[in-house]
């Protein structure tokens, strides 16, 4: 049972229920985790996570492995579904800034765990100045615009936009240099 995600997506595109089952099982914790992180209500998060898999199934034939991994493709779909909900519901209890702080400044145990599992993006983000990292994650995960970030973090609009721009470039460059070190 080590079919690649790409093979599973191809199976889903061809309407193979077994492929869909394996794909859902493999990714449900990530997708549900992201949904819950954004919307904060388990029942709503479940609906978002289900919706993400339905969308993934519908668009499985459009997945292009040359443009990225299946995991990030799926998570991007889940993020969209979660943000859709975020924008129409007013009872979402989540404070994005508080949530993002847990990512930007995670406790040491979780950091060690991530390094152990080979996630490089955390290490890369750790080298981005904190205000920039917070601004970037607010946009990347919660879909906040520059104006919304400015309002929530109490800085002028221009500052917020600059932080997002510099933060994302910084992150990209750190990711690239990390990969160069890993794969000489």
């Amino acid at each position: 049972m080590t079919a690649s995600d790409e093979a599973l997506l191809a199976g889903m595109a061809a309407d193979d229920p077994d492929a869909a089952a394996v794909f859902v099982r493999r990714h449900q914790a990530r997708v549900y985790g992201l949904a819950l992180f954004v919307v904060g209500i388990p029942a709503v998060a479940e609906e978002v996570a289900q919706e993400a898999f339905v969308r993934a199934w519908r668009h499985a034939d459009a997945f292009d492995p040359r443009r990225g991994r299946a995991t990030t493709w799926l998570l991007a779909i889940a993020r969209h579904a979660a943000i859709d909900v975020l924008r129409v519901r007013r009872d979402v209890p989540v404070d994005p800034v508080v949530m993002v702080e847990t990512i930007v400044d995670p406790d040491p145990d979780r950091l060690a765990e991530r390094v152990a599992t080979g996630t490089t993006v955390n290490a890369a983000l750790a080298r981005v100045p904190r205000e920039q990292a917070t601004a970037v994650v607010l946009a990347a995960v919660f879909g906040l615009s520059g104006a919304e970030i400015a309002e929530r973090t109490g800085v002028p609009l221009g500052t917020a936009k600059t932080r997002v721009r510099l933060g994302l470039r910084h992150l990209r460059d750190e990711l690239a240099s990390t990969r160069e070190v890993e794969t000489p």
Binding site: A13, Q28, F37, E46, H59, A139, A140, S145
Partner: protein, 305 residues
């Protein structure tokens, strides 16, 4: 090559990479990208970095049975495909996924015209249709909801019961709106043989555990002690599904912890009908919407959640 235009669009390009640009900004950037390879590469690498950030969110296991619920939605979408879908009546064999996409798009046009918002129920759950751009859709949806102090709009597939041996098939759609007022509306595209159907909404009363053995029905308890036996939904075998023409009350006892609200009558004309009305209960408490033929037989149901 870097130009003044590239520099002027730095923030806009970043917003597009992060998926937070509004339509105007997105259009401006895309126009520029058509002539600037450097910015295209820049956008690709920035977007990839942005996507990586989603991996930082901690994993959480959903509640038990999640996988089954997802697969049920996928399967029910596929099983609904042959029914009443004239687009597929030409005998063409197509994979379910792409076929379903085409079907959804075709339906969306109709629904968007009728409701001003592209929402679609698939397999018993409210679904936001992924038409792009998602943010524009979300904004239009929010405006729609604001008009009547709405919280959300959901839709669900209406399927025949399959009790009389026929395969279950999709015959229409149920729309639910939580707002002021809340309402439900049923549209039947492939009506059966009856001249009309009674539309009833089953509502959770919250006073009894679902299916709890000791739970007392809130109303109608005097008509019989075998309410569980006559549970009217999706009775695929035995019980109410037997061929015997057993006399049934017009409104069977609701399941424990639920009650029934009569919504109205759906009078068939040229194979279609529709009915709707205001709900005096929270839409989230709606368990099912049921269409009953004049002989008391349940013909079709929709379960929105």
């Amino acid at each position: 090559m870097t130009t003044g235009r590239c520099a002027a669009l730095r923030d806009a390009l970043t917003e597009v990479a992060l998926g937070v640009a509004d339509g105007t900004t997105r259009g401006t950037v895309l126009t520029h990208l058509a002539t600037c390879e450097r910015c295209r590469d820049d956008l690709a690498s920035l977007a990839a970095a942005a996507d990586e950030l989603l991996l930082l969110v901690p994993e959480r296991e959903p509640s038990a049975g999640f996988e089954g619920r997802v697969l049920a939605r996928l399967t029910s979408d596929g099983s609904a495909r042959p029914a009443g879908s004239s687009a597929l009546a030409d005998g063409r064999v197509a994979p379910v996924g792409p076929a379903a996409v085409r079907r959804h798009k075709a339906r969306t046009v109709v629904l968007a015209g009728a409701l001003g918002v592209a929402l679609l129920g698939v397999g018993g759950a409210g679904v936001w249709v992924a038409t792009e751009p998602d943010r524009d859709l979300a904004a239009a949806y929010r405006t729609t909801l604001d008009t009547a102090d709405g919280r959300y709009l959901a839709a669900a597939d209406l399927t025949t019961d399959g009790a009389s041996g026929d395969p279950t098939r999709s015959v229409g759609t149920v729309f639910l709106y939580e707002g002021n007022p809340s309402w439900a509306y049923v549209v039947v595209r492939g009506a059966g043989t009856a001249p009309s159907y009674t539309v009833a909404v089953t509502v959770a009363t919250g006073t009894a555990a679902d299916g709890g053995a000791g739970a007392a029905p809130e109303s109608g308890a005097g008509t019989g002690s075998d309410a569980g036996d006559r549970y009217p939904y999706r009775s695929g075998s035995g019980g109410a599904g037997s061929g015997e023409a057993r006399p049934q009350p017009p409104r069977p006892d609701p399941a424990p912890g639920t009650r029934e609200v009569l919504l109205g009558s759906c009078v068939v004309d040229a194979g279609t009908c529709s009915a709707g009305g205001v709900l005096d209960v929270a839409v989230h408490d709606v368990v099912a919407i049921r269409l009953t033929a004049p002989d008391g037989e349940t013909w079709a149901t929709a379960t929105p959640w």
